[in-house]
């Protein structure tokens, strides 16, 4: 049906639809693959969390304790003998275990857990609470998600933009002192962002006292919206710079190398011979074919930065998911830890998925517009 429609269109439109169709098809396939990955990740998390029936034991113990208390304090059961009361209690425990399917083999139950995990329906946290007072894991995580996304998106956009401009600039000045400096500094990226963060705190908060040690807003939070935003920005500077500094040198180094490799292609010489301006050459013949490679390398950087951000947030007391993870670890709050693993799986998946779509859009081998650039 779609095919016959396409064929009836003029040629340029046909190619356009064809391209769109391919992009959609690709997006769909990647989406399914990534979703399956998330499912596998969540399932793995559940297996780990439940390994050896560890979580089950805790739950059964909780049920027993709860029902024991309930029976002991029930006025209506006063006249029962001890024997009868105990039997009654055991029956209630058994019912509850059956209701929660705790008597079924784990392999079966794990799929129930998987569904609960995927929908983040993880019930109540054991100790933690959201700032609004809710104990539901979903609410706690939802409240923290925004802070993490703010920090991460700001620093990533900044990192990407600055790196590309800087790398292009260096590829033009290949061999200059600045270029050599960046090559020399590239190995510093072995240090993760939280590690850089410690030094930034030391310099700018402890010694100079210019910026706050951590947190997201001043305490108490400013009343007016503008002051609030300014306060957040002030608190954002250090953690965001930590992320940027930790990976900018190696990113610029790698990208500049890609640019250099691509600018030695014959068609670039050809374009130069044609007398095109260097900015046009850069945009059309160097940047365009390099972008897919760059996006792949950026995806890898992003993946490692996501995990690094867990500790970065801890170091900066940034009230995001990473800090939540750390708090949950310290309080041994199982549902919240499982919840954060799930949400990180989602975040990673979505990041990779978005980059995949961008990859297709910038890859010159997939034409969307029909008439070149």
């Amino acid at each position: 049906m779609v095919k016959s429609l396409e064929q009836s269109q003029p040629d340029s439109k046909n190619r356009r639809f064809d391209g769109l169709f391919r992009v959609l098809n690709y997006t769909l396939v990647r989406g399914v693959v990534i979703f399956l990955t998330i499912v596998v990740g969540v399932y793995l998390a559940i297996l780990v969390a439940n390994g050896g029936g560890y979580v089950d034991e805790i739950r059964i113990a909780q049920i027993k304790e709860q029902i024991g208390l309930q029976v002991a304090s029930d006025e209506a059961l006063r006249d029962f003998t001890l024997q009868e009361r105990r039997e009654f209690e055991n029956r209630l425990v058994q019912q509850e275990i059956e209701r929660l399917n705790l008597d079924k083999p784990f392999a079966l139950r794990s799929f129930g857990y998987l569904w609960q995990g995927l929908t983040l329906d993880l019930g109540r946290a054991e100790y933690l609470q959201s700032d609004s007072g809710s104990a539901y894991v979903r609410n706690i995580i939802g409240e923290r998600l925004g802070a993490t996304l703010l920090l991460f998106a700001t620093s990533q956009l900044f990192l990407f933009g600055v790196s590309i401009i800087f790398a292009l600039f260096l590829s033009r000045r290949y061999g200059s002192p600045l270029d050599k400096l960046v090559v020399g500094l590239a190995p510093t990226s072995a240090a993760p962002s939280w590690f850089i963060g410690i030094f930034l705190i030391l310099i700018f908060a402890s010694i100079l006292g210019w910026l706050p040690f951590g947190g997201m807003v001043e305490a108490p939070p400013p009343q007016s919206k503008l002051a609030y935003a300014l306060s957040v920005i002030k608190h954002l500077i250090l953690p965001a710079s930590a992320i940027v500094v930790s990976s900018i040198f190696s990113t610029v180094y790698y990208w500049r190398t890609f640019f250099l490799i691509y600018s030695s292609e014959d068609y670039v010489d050809m374009a130069k011979a044609k007398g095109l301006t260097s900015s046009v050459i850069e945009r059309r013949y160097v940047l365009r074919p390099t972008l897919p490679t760059i996006i792949t390398s950026f995806a890898l950087t992003l993946i490692s930065l996501w995990t690094g951000s867990i500790i970065l947030e801890t170091v900066f007391s940034w009230p995001g998911l990473g800090r939540l993870t750390q708090q949950a670890i310290n309080l041994f709050d199982t549902p919240v830890v499982v919840g954060t693993v799930v949400i990180y799986a989602y975040l990673l998946g979505v990041t990779v998925f978005l980059l995949d779509i961008i990859y297709v859009l910038v890859d010159p081998r997939v034409k969307l517009g029909g008439n070149g650039a």
């Binding site: 990955t37 998390a45 072995a190």
Partner: protein, 445 residues
């Protein structure tokens, strides 16, 4: 042979190789020194810190070498014991009545007050416990009565916590009041101080021993932490742990990945596609959160973590790189020849394919090491460090949890951080340079 010569000539062109090697050599030396001077059990015992091991070292003291950079000299810890050449006189007054006087004399030439003062007394007696009265004599001749005690077999007199003494000193904390210069109460009076313990013994064979500790504000090569532990133990022992962890994790994941990639290419077909699918999944698994869960629910042992890291790294990003290399190797003539003479699959994979790409792999391997070293530190910072082993990451975690950056104990953070930087930089410098040497595409860039 020629190849090695060429390689050496190439390496000379990159000073960063030499710099990297020097840093790595330093770490290896540090690790060897740690293993030789502090045996494993000893290190664990010291770091656990029970049994009053660290009784005589100060809390949160800076490293001694800080004194070289400041005009005001911070005090070091001064310990005087009655067992070691100290004025001790015992006289018999009557049958069953003796005096035993201990005079501790020490020179105090620092520009700051000590952080704490303690007197540890031990006594031997059958039934009647000895009495002591303790007095303090300043260099300018003032005298303070400190305390009168009836001694238990082991008695610790925490001078710093003696509020009665503090009142007698006009409200000043004892470690300040006892040392303060009357002309200028913000500075200690320099000179020879005397602590006199006059004991009364009521039995034949009864005796008193004492040791006086004036806790300093600088201690040892690396300072101490909130639990009085000497940081040198953890700084030294962090080196072998970090190197072992980094190397084993890198070797473990590289080798398994390499073999899998070789199998994928050699067998092709469904083996290849399954391995590629698994790689796609593993690539976006949240590694650190999964490690966190393992640490929480199973074991925080560093070796369990190592196993998990290797297991998660098997299908990691390396596998696609190796795969594309093997694809080229598979087409070369000598593989054809091996097939012709009837070599088995295993022989071709292990004897012909894998050795061929090992040189290309070295730089990657070297750059992987520090990322694992930092991963261990990351886990420790999250509070999931090995429960018994002292590591750099655990130092950072302790420092962070005790607000070292807020309270100005910078040495606590900077020393482990410095060693981590050396580890990271050493391997990264070497790796980056090797990458440029072995990777013809990057040569000269």
């Amino acid at each position: 042979m020629n190849l090695i010569k060429n390689m050496a000539a190439e390496i000379k062109k990159y000073p960063s190789v030499i710099a990297g090697l020097i840093l790595i050599a330093f770490l290896v030396f540090l690790a060897a020194y740690a293993l030789i001077t502090i045996p494993y059990d000893e290190a664990i015992k010291l770091w656990r810190g029970g049994d009053n091991i660290w009784l005589e070292s100060p809390r949160n003291a800076r490293p001694v070498w800080f004194n070289y950079f400041y005009r005001d000299k911070k005090p070091e810890t001064i310990i005087v014991r009655s067992e070691e050449n100290v004025n001790k006189t015992t006289t018999k007054l009557a049958e069953g009545l003796y005096t035993s006087d201990i005079v501790f004399e020490f020179d105090y030439q620092y520009d700051d007050f000590p952080s704490e003062l303690s007197l540890f007394l031990t006594s031997k007696a059958q039934t009647a416990r000895p009495n002591v009265s303790i007095t303090w004599h300043t260099p300018d001749g003032r005298e303070y009565r400190m305390a009168d005690l009836t001694l238990k077999p082991e008695e610790s007199y925490r001078i710093s916590q003696d509020t009665r003494l503090s009142r007698r000193l006009g409200g000043a904390v004892p470690e300040i009041g006892l040392f303060a210069d009357p002309e200028n109460p913000n500075k200690p009076l320099k000179g020879t101080y005397k602590l006199v313990i006059e004991g009364m013994l009521f039995e034949e064979g009864s005796s008193i021993e004492a040791s006086f500790v004036s806790y300093g504000k600088v201690h040892g090569l690396a300072g101490t932490d909130h639990r009085r532990r000497d940081l040198t133990v953890a700084l030294l022992w962090g080196a072998p742990v970090a190197l072992a962890f980094g190397f084993l994790a890198a070797i473990g994941s590289t080798i398994t990945t390499l073999i899998l990639a070789a199998c994928a290419v050699w067998y092709g077909g469904w083996v290849d596609s399954i391995i590629r699918r698994i790689n796609e999944v593993v690539m976006i698994l949240p590694t650190l959160p999964i490690l966190i869960m393992v640490g929480m629910f199973y074991s925080r042992s560093i070796w369990v973590m190592l196993g998990c890291i290797i297991a998660l790294g098997i299908f990691g990003s390396g596998i696609m790189t190796y795969r594309s290399m093997f694809l080229q190797v598979k087409e070369s003539g000598y593989i054809e020849a091996a097939k012709a003479y009837g070599a088995s699959n295993a022989r071709i994979i292990f004897r012909y394919m894998i050795p061929k790409i090992i040189p290309v792999l070295i730089p990657q391997f070297v750059t992987m090491v520090p990322s694992y070293v930092f991963l261990e530190a990351s886990l420790a910072v999250l509070g999931l460090g090995d429960p018994v082993l002292p590591t750099w990451g655990k130092l950072l975690n302790d420092a962070y949890e005790n607000g070292a950056l807020y309270t100005g104990h910078y040495y606590w953070v900077l020393q482990p951080a410095f060693l981590l930087i050396i580890a990271g930089l050493g391997f990264a410098l070497l790796g980056f340079a090797l990458d440029r040497i072995f990777n013809p595409k990057l040569r000269g860039l």
